[in-house]
Amino acid sequence: MPTLPQFLSQAFNGIALGSLLALVASGLSIILGTLGVLNFAHGAMFMLGAYTAFVVLGHWDSFAIALALGALVLVLVGFATERGLIRFYYSRPKEDQILVTFGLGIMMVEAVRYVFGSLSQPVPLPSWGQGIVNLGFFIFPLYRVEVIGIVAVLLFTFYQLLYRTRIGLVVRAGIEDPLMVELLGTHVRRVFMVVFTIGAMAAGIAGVIYAPLAAVIPNMGEPFLVQCFVVVVIGGLGSFPGAVVGGIVVGEILSLTTLFDPAYSQAAIYAVMALVLIVRPRGLFGTMGRA
């Protein structure tokens, strides 16, 4: 039986991990809900953020610059991808969209592998992230607390964007009924570019934040991609609250199950996904339709 400090420690880790998942998954979910495109390159975009952090922190000691540049790189990549490739696929079948983003993901991973090699690149913790927080009854790393804080701020910003801005209004309406949005005079397609870019940016920033915590290798996005799919299935397609709640849930499951048997923690999230599919296929917050 795990002890209380162990339990709390893992529960806390679950929030840290879950919040990162929530950030990446919200990007994926909004892209899916608005554009109807399942971005198989999303994991690769996450990875690009981590590598940007590696490059930046090799030259400057500022994590803030890493975050800013990570966001910028992914904004450019997202913009280029949507304008240069994805937008030709909106009227093609879903399977084609999946295939092309899958191929794109491979290209990104291989390009990075060519430049940086396959070995893990070390990314140092920021100076304000080193150390621990000691609450007496339990101890956890400072950086993870900060991660939760940063992601909370970002998710809050995301929320504001979605619920308090004109673009957010168009996106939310467009997820529901794009034709009606057009009938009210707004060209929905123009918004697609913004949505895709923001989604890519969310993945990239998450990558920057995650970089000091784990091995930075070209394939690092792959497990995140799959876990994101699980989050989206659990939380519901196209739902921002679903992605957040789903992310935390998956993060907690991953962390807490390691208390009992680390070997089965991955299996546990797939078991939950299977359960959701049987009991409530549209997920916690999703609506039917859209596959």
Partner: protein, 613 residues
């Protein structure tokens, strides 16, 4: 070239060519590369891909997790052999394939609940799940990161002959043998009624279900078939390499399968093998070019993206398109020529007796008792009853929002009423689904055409007729799709009846709307139903075409009960014996056309609503 020998040659030409290729090509590889091993690997991917092509190329189900079954087959076989639990390699292989099949039933039951994007995500997740399980919790049996070395090769002992398949050339013979058998089997599937149903599912799954086929069961069947091929491929990989690698389960494997299939051409059966040849050869070649070296996968990824964008049919797919454009048409079953004998046609197309004979022959063909249906808070249909003796042509009319479409959907078993009964020749079908309804002899023709656009007229009708004659599910893989004489006769009679014989073997998407509308009717007729529901059969037709369809409907009355929903009032009054008027979900009036046109309540409902503001 219609002689039966000519047709037999055309049927078996691909298998023949494959056999020849499998004999000649290895020597090409051996000479060019010094070893036949690359070709053996290509064929292993080919076996894996045969099943995947049936799943994705033919049925349209894009799975990113086939590695789960490839790995299961491979590791079960390898474990049984390397742990000493089994000596006979053939048995171990069979066990591996069986394990893969079993696993796929479990995954399929979950994943196939969804389609498209969700299906891709779920299969991906299960693929990763297996990879993870293999790597950690089960590593005691799978060797974890190290895999399982020491997998032996099988041997045959017949009479005095003792042949072991170990070594480069014998391995090739083993795998080429399996590939050939797999190819022949896959060809049987494709050319069978099962293959036709799978293609229909890809093009219009809802209509396929409404034509009497158990779509979920067929999907599960092809999913398991794909897993069997995958498991076989995995097991053979272990045998070939004498080593079972851990990455068999991974996304790399599943992804590579998808890429190779798309490059080679989905739906062509040999596409995956061709794609594997291209991928593996280019990989070896590109890696040797100094300027490229490690960028080979990036370049192949780029090639893949370009192919998906500009040449989505893949290499083989495009070759076939060019082939067809230059006039080499495959052998098409044109069906026997029928004399235009009306009575013979009518006999052929007469309604089939319902499968379950009720104890007392009921007076009514269709007895609808007080059915209701509500959505949210709105009562769309409110205790409506309808009693139709056999042979009646009955119309249902009513203003917008009256509940006609909902009522018809309830009758067609597309939805279940909240209360009430629908008795078809005495059997309550209210809770039945569309597939069962079709089997019982109740068929609907849709307001918006629901056809199989990439198939010919004849093939479309065949899907319908096969539904009734074969039942919900039949795995008659070794029968050709046009192998039921009765079905072919019915299809030919339908084509005559509908006036579509001339365009029988033309692809539907190329035909004008009038022909498509008549095909739509034909699909409902293909089950030789005793009750026919026609949802706005005249929609979108010109005046001349309307006359034709009206005459068709009159001809259809013999022995059949017809319910007609139409807005063309002239047509309704011409055709219907009796009319029911619905208003706000309730039956407002019912009677002969004269009675209805004189009814003041009906007039008011149409002109001003029941209450005037």
């Amino acid at each position: 070239m219609d002689g039966s020998n000519g047709r037999r040659l055309k049927r078996w030409l691909p298998e023949l060519s494959m056999a020849i290729a499998l004999v000649i090509l290895p020597f090409v590889f051996d000479t060019w590369l010094g070893s036949v091993d690359l070709f053996t690997r290509i064929l292993i991917w080919g076996i894996f891909g045969l099943g995947f092509d049936l799943l994705f190329g033919r049925t349209g189900l894009l799975s990113f997790g086939q590695g789960a079954f490839y790995g299961t087959g491979g590791f079960v076989t390898a474990y049984l052999l390397t742990s000493g639990r089994m000596d006979n390699v053939w048995l171990a292989l069979a066990a591996g394939v069986a394990a893969a099949a079993l696993f796929s039933v479990f995954v399929g039951l979950l994943a196939l609940r969804r389609v498209g994007i969700y299906f891709a995500m779920i299969t991906l997740a299960f693929g990763e799940l297996s990879f993870f399980l293999e790597n950690s919790p089960l590593s005691r049996w799978t060797g974890g990161e190290n895999g399982l070395p020491g997998v032996p090769a099988p041997s045959i002992q017949i009479g005095g002959l003792d042949y072991s398949f170990a070594g480069s050339w014998p391995s090739y013979q083993l795998i080429a043998g399996f590939y050939f058998i797999g190819f022949v089997f896959a060809r049987f599937v494709v050319l069978s009624p099962v293959g036709s149903v799978l293609t229909a599912i890809q093009q219009n799954p809802q209509r396929t279900a409404a034509l009497g086929h158990d779509v979920a069961a067929y999907k599960l069947t092809v999913f398991v078939l794909a897993a069997i091929f995958a498991g076989c491929g995995g097991a053979l990989l272990g045998i070939f390499q004498s080593y079972m690698p851990p990455d068999a389960f991974g996304l790399d494997t599943s992804g590579q399968l998808v890429i190779q299939t798309v490059i080679g051409g989905a739906g062509t059966l040999i596409g995956p093998a061709v794609g594997a040849a291209i991928w593996l050869t280019l990989r070896d070649l590109l890696q040797q070019v100094p300027a490229i070296g490690d960028l080979w996968k990036f370049i192949l990824g780029l090639v893949f993206v370009l192919l998906v964008t500009f040449m989505p049919n893949g290499v083989v797919g495009n070759i076939i398109r060019v082939w067809l454009r230059f006039g080499f048409r495959p052998a098409v079953a044109t069906g026997t020529d029928r004399p235009g004998d009306v009575t013979a046609r009518e006999a052929l197309l007469a309604p089939l007796p319902t499968a379950i004979a009720p104890s007392l022959p009921p007076r009514l063909a269709l007895d609808v008792r007080d059915i209701s249906k509500a959505y949210g808070g709105i009562q769309a249909v409110d205790r409506v009853s309808l009693a139709l003796p056999e042979g009646r042509l009955h119309a249902i009319i009513g203003p917008n929002g009256a509940g006609k479409s909902t009522f018809l959907r309830l009758l067609a078993c597309e939805e279940t009423p909240d209360s009430g009964e629908i008795l078809l020749h005495g059997i309550d079908v209210a809770a039945a689904d569309v597939t069962a309804a079709y089997q019982y002899g109740l068929a609907k023709s849709y307001q918006i055409n629901q056809l199989f656009p990439q198939l010919t007229m004849r093939q479309n009708l065949r899907i319908g007729a096969l539904g009734r004659h074969r039942g919900r599910l039949r795995l008659d893989i070794f029968r050709p799709a046009d192998g039921f004489a009765k079905v072919e006769d019915v299809v030919a009679a339908l084509l005559e009846e509908l006036g579509l014989t001339e365009c029988a073997d033309l692809v539907v998407s190329t035909l004008p709307y009038g022909e498509k509308r008549r095909l739509e009717l034909g699909l409902a007729l293909a089950s030789q139903p005793s009750v026919l529901l026609l949802d706005e059969p005249l929609a979108g037709l010109s005046a001349v075409e309307r006359e034709g369809v009206k005459q068709l409907i009159r001809n259809l009355r013999k022995g059949r009960t017809i319910i007609l929903v139409e807005h063309d009032m002239d047509a309704v009054f011409e055709l219907a014996e009796r009319i029911t008027v619905l208003h706000e979900g309730r039956k407002l009036a019912e009677g002969t056309p004269n009675e209805i046109s004189g009814d003041p309540l009906v007039k008011q409902a149409y002109l001003g609503g029941m209450t005037v503001p």
